[in-house]
Protein backbone atom coordinates (compact mmCIF):
# COMPACT_ATOMS: atom_id res chain seq x y z
CA UNK A 1 0.00 0.00 0.00
CA UNK A 2 1.49 3.37 -1.02
CA UNK A 3 2.29 5.62 1.91
CA UNK A 4 -0.20 8.31 0.86
CA UNK A 5 -3.05 5.81 0.99
CA UNK A 6 -1.98 4.63 4.45
CA UNK A 7 -1.97 8.22 5.59
CA UNK A 8 -5.37 8.85 3.98
CA UNK A 9 -6.86 5.79 5.67
CA UNK A 10 -6.20 7.31 9.08
CA UNK A 11 -6.60 10.98 8.29
CA UNK A 12 -9.55 10.92 5.88
CA UNK A 13 -11.41 7.68 6.51
CA UNK A 14 -11.08 7.55 10.27
CA UNK A 15 -10.83 11.23 11.17
CA UNK A 16 -12.75 12.87 8.31
CA UNK A 17 -9.97 15.35 7.54
CA UNK A 18 -9.37 15.84 3.80
CA UNK A 19 -5.97 15.54 2.15
CA UNK A 20 -4.09 18.78 1.51
CA UNK A 21 -2.64 19.83 -1.85
CA UNK A 22 0.52 17.73 -1.45
CA UNK A 23 -1.55 14.70 -0.50
CA UNK A 24 -3.86 15.15 -3.48
CA UNK A 25 -0.84 15.45 -5.77
CA UNK A 26 0.57 12.21 -4.39
CA UNK A 27 -2.71 10.45 -5.22
CA UNK A 28 -2.79 11.97 -8.71
CA UNK A 29 0.74 10.64 -9.25
CA UNK A 30 0.01 7.08 -8.13
CA UNK A 31 1.11 4.43 -10.64
CA UNK A 32 -1.64 2.62 -12.57
CA UNK A 33 -1.45 -0.47 -10.38
CA UNK A 34 -2.34 1.55 -7.27
CA UNK A 35 -5.38 3.26 -8.77
CA UNK A 36 -7.82 0.49 -7.74
CA UNK A 37 -6.68 0.79 -4.11
CA UNK A 38 -7.12 4.57 -4.24
CA UNK A 39 -10.65 4.17 -5.64
CA UNK A 40 -11.49 1.55 -3.01
CA UNK A 41 -10.37 3.87 -0.23
CA UNK A 42 -12.24 6.82 -1.75
CA UNK A 43 -15.35 4.64 -1.89
CA UNK A 44 -14.98 3.72 1.80
CA UNK A 45 -14.57 7.42 2.63
CA UNK A 46 -17.72 8.29 0.70
CA UNK A 47 -19.69 5.49 2.41
CA UNK A 48 -18.43 6.48 5.85
CA UNK A 49 -18.94 10.26 5.57
CA UNK A 50 -21.80 10.57 3.05
CA UNK A 51 -23.57 7.21 3.08
CA UNK A 52 -24.76 4.99 0.26
CA UNK A 53 -27.36 7.38 -1.23
CA UNK A 54 -26.76 8.88 -4.64
CA UNK A 55 -28.18 12.29 -5.46
CA UNK A 56 -29.73 12.38 -8.90
CA UNK A 57 -30.10 15.64 -10.80
CA UNK A 58 -31.31 16.86 -14.16
CA UNK A 59 -30.08 20.10 -15.74
CA UNK A 60 -31.66 22.28 -18.37
CA UNK A 61 -30.60 25.31 -20.34
CA UNK A 62 -33.06 28.19 -19.96
CA UNK A 63 -31.00 30.42 -22.24
CA UNK A 64 -28.55 28.74 -24.60
CA UNK A 65 -25.65 30.29 -26.53
CA UNK A 66 -24.70 33.87 -27.30
CA UNK A 67 -22.75 34.34 -24.05
CA UNK A 68 -20.44 37.40 -24.03
CA UNK A 69 -17.75 35.56 -22.01
CA UNK A 70 -14.83 33.65 -23.52
CA UNK A 71 -14.43 30.47 -21.46
CA UNK A 72 -12.26 28.55 -23.93
CA UNK A 73 -14.01 25.21 -23.45
CA UNK A 74 -17.52 26.52 -23.99
CA UNK A 75 -19.62 26.08 -27.13
CA UNK A 76 -22.06 28.67 -25.81
CA UNK A 77 -19.68 31.62 -26.01
CA UNK A 78 -20.79 34.07 -28.67
CA UNK A 79 -17.13 34.91 -29.31
CA UNK A 80 -16.25 31.65 -31.06
CA UNK A 81 -17.51 30.19 -34.34
CA UNK A 82 -19.46 27.46 -32.59
CA UNK A 83 -22.51 25.97 -34.32
CA UNK A 84 -24.57 26.47 -31.15
CA UNK A 85 -27.26 29.11 -31.79
CA UNK A 86 -28.85 31.33 -29.19
CA UNK A 87 -32.24 30.07 -28.00
CA UNK A 88 -34.54 30.52 -24.98
CA UNK A 89 -36.67 27.83 -23.40
CA UNK A 90 -40.25 28.96 -22.68
CA UNK A 91 -41.91 28.41 -19.31
CA UNK A 92 -44.22 25.53 -20.32
CA UNK A 93 -41.23 23.65 -21.78
CA UNK A 94 -39.21 24.39 -18.64
CA UNK A 95 -41.95 22.98 -16.41
CA UNK A 96 -42.29 19.94 -18.68
CA UNK A 97 -38.52 19.34 -18.42
CA UNK A 98 -38.78 19.55 -14.62
CA UNK A 99 -41.64 17.02 -14.65
CA UNK A 100 -39.71 14.61 -16.82
CA UNK A 101 -36.67 15.00 -14.59
CA UNK A 102 -38.74 14.30 -11.47
CA UNK A 103 -40.21 11.24 -13.18
CA UNK A 104 -36.72 9.69 -13.34
CA UNK A 105 -36.57 9.88 -9.52
CA UNK A 106 -34.25 12.88 -9.54
CA UNK A 107 -34.56 15.27 -6.60
CA UNK A 108 -32.63 18.17 -8.12
CA UNK A 109 -33.43 20.29 -11.15
CA UNK A 110 -30.85 22.89 -12.09
CA UNK A 111 -31.81 25.78 -14.37
CA UNK A 112 -28.81 27.11 -16.27
CA UNK A 113 -28.31 30.19 -18.44
CA UNK A 114 -25.37 31.07 -20.69
CA UNK A 115 -24.76 34.58 -19.44
CA UNK A 116 -22.10 36.62 -17.65
CA UNK A 117 -24.76 37.33 -15.05
CA UNK A 118 -28.54 37.68 -15.11
CA UNK A 119 -30.29 40.71 -16.60
CA UNK A 120 -33.86 41.83 -15.84
CA UNK A 121 -35.32 39.57 -18.56
CA UNK A 122 -33.59 36.47 -17.18
CA UNK A 123 -34.58 37.25 -13.59
CA UNK A 124 -38.21 37.64 -14.74
CA UNK A 125 -38.05 34.26 -16.51
CA UNK A 126 -36.59 32.76 -13.36
CA UNK A 127 -39.30 34.22 -11.14
CA UNK A 128 -42.05 32.84 -13.36
CA UNK A 129 -40.29 29.57 -14.11
CA UNK A 130 -39.35 28.70 -10.54
CA UNK A 131 -42.84 29.59 -9.27
CA UNK A 132 -44.44 27.39 -11.94
CA UNK A 133 -42.14 24.46 -11.16
CA UNK A 134 -42.69 24.75 -7.42
CA UNK A 135 -46.46 24.83 -7.95
CA UNK A 136 -46.52 21.77 -10.19
CA UNK A 137 -43.50 19.56 -9.57
CA UNK A 138 -42.02 17.87 -6.49
CA UNK A 139 -38.37 18.68 -7.02
CA UNK A 140 -35.71 20.95 -5.55
CA UNK A 141 -34.77 23.85 -7.80
CA UNK A 142 -31.16 24.94 -8.24
CA UNK A 143 -29.79 27.61 -10.56
CA UNK A 144 -26.65 28.51 -12.45
CA UNK A 145 -26.83 31.99 -13.93
CA UNK A 146 -23.27 33.28 -13.80
CA UNK A 147 -22.04 36.08 -11.57
CA UNK A 148 -24.59 37.66 -9.27
CA UNK A 149 -25.15 40.95 -7.49
CA UNK A 150 -26.21 40.90 -3.85
CA UNK A 151 -29.76 41.88 -4.90
CA UNK A 152 -29.92 38.95 -7.29
CA UNK A 153 -28.66 36.57 -4.61
CA UNK A 154 -31.42 37.80 -2.30
CA UNK A 155 -34.02 37.47 -5.03
CA UNK A 156 -33.05 33.87 -5.80
CA UNK A 157 -33.36 33.00 -2.12
CA UNK A 158 -36.81 34.57 -2.11
CA UNK A 159 -37.83 32.53 -5.15
CA UNK A 160 -36.94 29.36 -3.26
CA UNK A 161 -33.81 28.42 -5.19
CA UNK A 162 -32.05 26.18 -2.67
CA UNK A 163 -28.66 25.67 -4.31
CA UNK A 164 -26.57 27.82 -6.63
CA UNK A 165 -23.99 26.48 -9.04
CA UNK A 166 -21.03 28.61 -10.00
CA UNK A 167 -17.97 26.68 -11.11
CA UNK A 168 -14.47 27.97 -10.58
CA UNK A 169 -13.69 25.66 -13.55
CA UNK A 170 -9.98 25.30 -12.83
CA UNK A 171 -7.36 26.36 -10.30
CA UNK A 172 -6.56 29.99 -9.70
CA UNK A 173 -3.14 29.83 -11.34
CA UNK A 174 -4.47 28.35 -14.60
CA UNK A 175 -7.73 30.29 -14.84
CA UNK A 176 -6.33 33.19 -16.94
CA UNK A 177 -5.35 30.63 -19.60
CA UNK A 178 -8.97 29.56 -19.88
CA UNK A 179 -11.00 32.75 -19.34
CA UNK A 180 -9.95 36.33 -20.03
CA UNK A 181 -13.27 38.20 -19.78
CA UNK A 182 -13.58 37.84 -16.02
CA UNK A 183 -11.41 36.70 -13.14
CA UNK A 184 -11.30 33.77 -10.76
CA UNK A 185 -11.69 36.29 -7.95
CA UNK A 186 -14.94 37.61 -9.43
CA UNK A 187 -16.29 34.08 -9.42
CA UNK A 188 -15.12 33.62 -5.84
CA UNK A 189 -17.00 36.79 -4.83
CA UNK A 190 -20.29 35.39 -6.16
CA UNK A 191 -19.63 32.15 -4.28
CA UNK A 192 -19.02 34.11 -1.08
CA UNK A 193 -22.36 35.93 -1.40
CA UNK A 194 -24.19 32.69 -2.18
CA UNK A 195 -22.69 31.02 0.89
CA UNK A 196 -23.67 33.93 3.14
CA UNK A 197 -27.22 33.91 1.80
CA UNK A 198 -27.79 30.40 3.11
CA UNK A 199 -28.18 28.84 -0.33
CA UNK A 200 -26.14 25.68 -0.78
CA UNK A 201 -22.95 26.25 -2.73
CA UNK A 202 -22.31 24.05 -5.76
CA UNK A 203 -18.88 24.62 -7.26
CA UNK A 204 -16.71 22.42 -9.42
CA UNK A 205 -14.94 22.51 -12.72
CA UNK A 206 -13.55 20.78 -15.74
CA UNK A 207 -10.47 18.60 -15.92
CA UNK A 208 -8.46 18.36 -19.13
CA UNK A 209 -8.28 22.05 -20.00
CA UNK A 210 -4.48 21.83 -20.33
CA UNK A 211 -3.75 22.19 -16.61
CA UNK A 212 -0.82 20.28 -15.14
CA UNK A 213 -1.23 17.54 -12.55
CA UNK A 214 0.10 20.01 -9.98
CA UNK A 215 -2.62 22.46 -10.99
CA UNK A 216 -5.24 19.74 -10.66
CA UNK A 217 -4.05 19.27 -7.07
CA UNK A 218 -4.10 23.04 -6.56
CA UNK A 219 -7.70 23.09 -7.78
CA UNK A 220 -8.79 20.31 -5.41
CA UNK A 221 -7.19 22.19 -2.50
CA UNK A 222 -8.89 25.45 -3.47
CA UNK A 223 -12.25 23.71 -3.70
CA UNK A 224 -11.67 22.07 -0.31
CA UNK A 225 -10.94 25.54 1.04
CA UNK A 226 -14.29 26.76 -0.29
CA UNK A 227 -15.95 23.66 1.21
CA UNK A 228 -18.91 23.51 -1.19
CA UNK A 229 -21.99 21.41 -0.52
CA UNK A 230 -21.55 19.91 -3.98
CA UNK A 231 -18.68 19.58 -6.45
CA UNK A 232 -19.61 18.70 -10.05
CA UNK A 233 -16.67 17.12 -11.84
CA UNK A 234 -16.59 17.53 -15.61
CA UNK A 235 -14.09 16.14 -18.09
CA UNK A 236 -13.42 18.22 -21.18
CA UNK A 237 -15.55 17.28 -24.15
CA UNK A 238 -13.70 19.30 -26.83
CA UNK A 239 -16.30 21.34 -28.69
CA UNK A 240 -16.01 22.30 -32.37
CA UNK A 241 -15.19 25.95 -32.90
CA UNK A 242 -13.84 26.57 -29.40
CA UNK A 243 -10.15 27.30 -28.67
CA UNK A 244 -9.94 23.88 -26.96
CA UNK A 245 -11.52 21.98 -29.86
CA UNK A 246 -8.34 20.01 -30.55
CA UNK A 247 -7.39 19.10 -26.99
CA UNK A 248 -7.25 15.39 -26.26
CA UNK A 249 -9.84 13.98 -23.88
CA UNK A 250 -8.67 13.03 -20.38
CA UNK A 251 -7.38 9.45 -20.15
CA UNK A 252 -9.77 7.16 -18.29
CA UNK A 253 -7.17 6.22 -15.66
CA UNK A 254 -6.37 9.90 -15.01
CA UNK A 255 -10.06 10.67 -14.63
CA UNK A 256 -10.38 7.88 -12.05
CA UNK A 257 -7.27 9.08 -10.20
CA UNK A 258 -8.84 12.53 -10.05
CA UNK A 259 -12.14 11.18 -8.73
CA UNK A 260 -10.35 9.34 -5.92
CA UNK A 261 -8.12 12.34 -5.17
CA UNK A 262 -10.99 14.86 -5.07
CA UNK A 263 -12.96 12.56 -2.76
CA UNK A 264 -9.96 12.19 -0.46
CA UNK A 265 -9.64 15.99 -0.40
CA UNK A 266 -13.34 16.49 0.38
CA UNK A 267 -14.73 13.54 2.37
CA UNK A 268 -18.19 15.04 3.00
CA UNK A 269 -19.08 16.87 -0.22
CA UNK A 270 -21.55 15.66 -2.81
CA UNK A 271 -19.15 14.69 -5.61
CA UNK A 272 -21.12 14.66 -8.83
CA UNK A 273 -20.36 13.05 -12.15
CA UNK A 274 -21.14 15.78 -14.67
CA UNK A 275 -20.31 16.29 -18.35
CA UNK A 276 -17.77 14.36 -20.39
CA UNK A 277 -17.84 11.10 -18.43
CA UNK A 278 -19.37 9.18 -21.34
CA UNK A 279 -16.52 10.26 -23.61
CA UNK A 280 -13.69 9.85 -21.11
CA UNK A 281 -14.82 6.76 -19.23
CA UNK A 282 -17.61 5.06 -21.16
CA UNK A 283 -20.10 2.74 -19.48
CA UNK A 284 -17.55 0.87 -17.37
CA UNK A 285 -16.07 4.09 -16.06
CA UNK A 286 -19.40 5.24 -14.75
CA UNK A 287 -19.46 2.16 -12.53
CA UNK A 288 -15.82 2.60 -11.48
CA UNK A 289 -16.45 6.21 -10.47
CA UNK A 290 -19.52 5.32 -8.42
CA UNK A 291 -17.36 2.75 -6.65
CA UNK A 292 -14.54 5.26 -6.27
CA UNK A 293 -15.93 8.30 -4.47
CA UNK A 294 -18.70 9.66 -6.71
CA UNK A 295 -22.08 9.95 -4.95
CA UNK A 296 -24.16 12.00 -7.36
CA UNK A 297 -24.96 11.99 -11.06
CA UNK A 298 -26.46 14.24 -13.67
CA UNK A 299 -28.88 12.01 -15.51
CA UNK A 300 -29.99 12.33 -19.08
CA UNK A 301 -28.76 15.08 -21.33
CA UNK A 302 -26.50 18.02 -20.60
CA UNK A 303 -26.94 21.61 -21.79
CA UNK A 304 -25.83 21.27 -25.40
CA UNK A 305 -24.71 17.64 -25.57
CA UNK A 306 -26.40 14.33 -24.82
CA UNK A 307 -25.77 11.89 -21.98
CA UNK A 308 -26.57 8.27 -21.29
CA UNK A 309 -30.27 7.59 -20.94
CA UNK A 310 -31.38 8.16 -17.33
CA UNK A 311 -32.63 4.57 -17.24
CA UNK A 312 -29.08 3.25 -17.81
CA UNK A 313 -27.72 5.15 -14.81
CA UNK A 314 -30.66 4.22 -12.62
CA UNK A 315 -30.29 0.54 -13.52
CA UNK A 316 -26.61 0.78 -12.63
CA UNK A 317 -27.43 2.30 -9.24
CA UNK A 318 -29.84 -0.53 -8.57
CA UNK A 319 -27.20 -3.03 -9.60
CA UNK A 320 -24.72 -1.39 -7.22
CA UNK A 321 -27.36 -1.35 -4.44
CA UNK A 322 -26.99 2.39 -4.07
CA UNK A 323 -30.34 3.99 -3.25
CA UNK A 324 -31.35 7.20 -5.00
CA UNK A 325 -31.54 9.94 -2.40
CA UNK A 326 -35.21 10.64 -1.67
CA UNK A 327 -36.73 14.11 -1.79
CA UNK A 328 -37.64 13.89 1.90
CA UNK A 329 -33.95 13.49 2.73
CA UNK A 330 -33.10 16.75 1.01
CA UNK A 331 -35.76 18.98 2.57
Amino acid sequence: MPEILDQARTQVLENGVGLDEAGVLAVLNLPDEDVPAALQLAHEVRMRWCGPEVEVEGIVSLKTGGCPEDCHFCSQSGLFTSPVRSVWLDIPALVEAAKQTAATGATEFCIVAAVRGPDARLMKQMREGVAAIRAEVDIQVAASLGMLSQEQVDELVEMGVHRYNHNLETCRSYFPNVVTTHSWEERWETLRMVRESGMEVCCGGILGLGETVEQRAEFAAQLADLDPHEVPLNFLNPRPGTPLADRPVVEGKDALRAIAAFRLAMPRTILRYAGGRELTLGDLGTRDGLLGGINAVIVGNYLTTLGRPATADLALLEDLKMPVKALSATL
Binding site: G58, R85, V87, Q100, N301
Partner: protein
Amino acid sequence: MTELVEPVAPAEPAGAGRWCDRCGEPSAAGGHDACAAARALEPPRYCVHCRRRMKVQVVPTGWSAVCVEHGEIRG
Protein backbone atom coordinates in the same frame (compact mmCIF):
# COMPACT_ATOMS: atom_id res chain seq x y z
CA MET B 1 -31.19 30.09 -49.90
CA THR B 2 -31.20 27.76 -52.88
CA GLU B 3 -27.77 29.06 -53.84
CA LEU B 4 -26.35 26.96 -51.00
CA VAL B 5 -27.88 23.78 -52.34
CA GLU B 6 -25.66 21.74 -54.59
CA PRO B 7 -26.81 18.81 -56.73
CA VAL B 8 -27.07 15.63 -54.72
CA ALA B 9 -24.22 13.30 -55.57
CA PRO B 10 -25.50 10.13 -57.22
CA ALA B 11 -23.56 8.00 -54.71
CA GLU B 12 -25.39 9.49 -51.74
CA PRO B 13 -27.15 6.78 -49.73
CA ALA B 14 -30.92 6.87 -49.68
CA GLY B 15 -32.29 8.93 -46.81
CA ALA B 16 -29.07 10.83 -46.10
CA GLY B 17 -29.08 14.59 -46.40
CA ARG B 18 -27.00 16.83 -48.57
CA TRP B 19 -25.19 18.36 -45.65
CA CYS B 20 -23.63 16.78 -42.59
CA ASP B 21 -25.84 17.67 -39.63
CA ARG B 22 -22.82 17.96 -37.33
CA CYS B 23 -20.17 19.91 -39.25
CA GLY B 24 -22.30 21.46 -42.00
CA GLU B 25 -20.01 20.30 -44.83
CA PRO B 26 -21.32 18.44 -47.91
CA SER B 27 -22.19 14.84 -47.03
CA ALA B 28 -20.96 13.61 -50.38
CA ALA B 29 -17.45 14.91 -49.65
CA GLY B 30 -16.98 12.08 -47.12
CA GLY B 31 -14.85 12.26 -44.00
CA HIS B 32 -17.84 12.36 -41.68
CA ASP B 33 -17.17 9.16 -39.75
CA ALA B 34 -16.04 11.15 -36.71
CA CYS B 35 -19.16 13.33 -37.03
CA ALA B 36 -21.38 10.25 -37.12
CA ALA B 37 -19.64 8.83 -34.03
CA ALA B 38 -19.89 12.14 -32.17
CA ARG B 39 -23.59 12.40 -33.00
CA ALA B 40 -24.29 9.55 -30.60
CA LEU B 41 -23.74 12.11 -27.83
CA GLU B 42 -24.77 15.32 -29.62
CA PRO B 43 -27.90 16.69 -31.23
CA PRO B 44 -27.71 17.80 -34.87
CA ARG B 45 -26.62 21.39 -35.47
CA TYR B 46 -27.07 21.92 -39.24
CA CYS B 47 -30.11 21.26 -41.38
CA VAL B 48 -29.28 18.39 -43.73
CA HIS B 49 -31.44 19.94 -46.47
CA CYS B 50 -30.18 23.53 -46.53
CA ARG B 51 -27.14 23.74 -44.22
CA ARG B 52 -28.73 26.41 -42.03
CA ARG B 53 -27.66 26.35 -38.39
CA MET B 54 -30.69 25.13 -36.48
CA LYS B 55 -32.08 26.40 -33.19
CA VAL B 56 -31.41 23.44 -30.93
CA GLN B 57 -32.90 22.95 -27.49
CA VAL B 58 -31.62 20.11 -25.34
CA VAL B 59 -33.65 18.97 -22.32
CA PRO B 60 -32.83 16.10 -19.92
CA THR B 61 -34.91 13.55 -21.82
CA GLY B 62 -34.61 14.71 -25.43
CA TRP B 63 -33.86 17.48 -27.90
CA SER B 64 -35.49 19.49 -30.66
CA ALA B 65 -33.88 21.25 -33.61
CA VAL B 66 -35.64 23.81 -35.78
CA CYS B 67 -34.74 24.97 -39.27
CA VAL B 68 -36.73 28.07 -40.25
CA GLU B 69 -37.21 26.58 -43.71
CA HIS B 70 -37.56 22.85 -43.07
CA GLY B 71 -39.24 22.73 -39.69
CA GLU B 72 -38.59 20.82 -36.50
CA ILE B 73 -37.00 17.46 -35.82
CA ARG B 74 -36.86 15.78 -32.42
CA GLY B 75 -34.82 13.12 -30.74
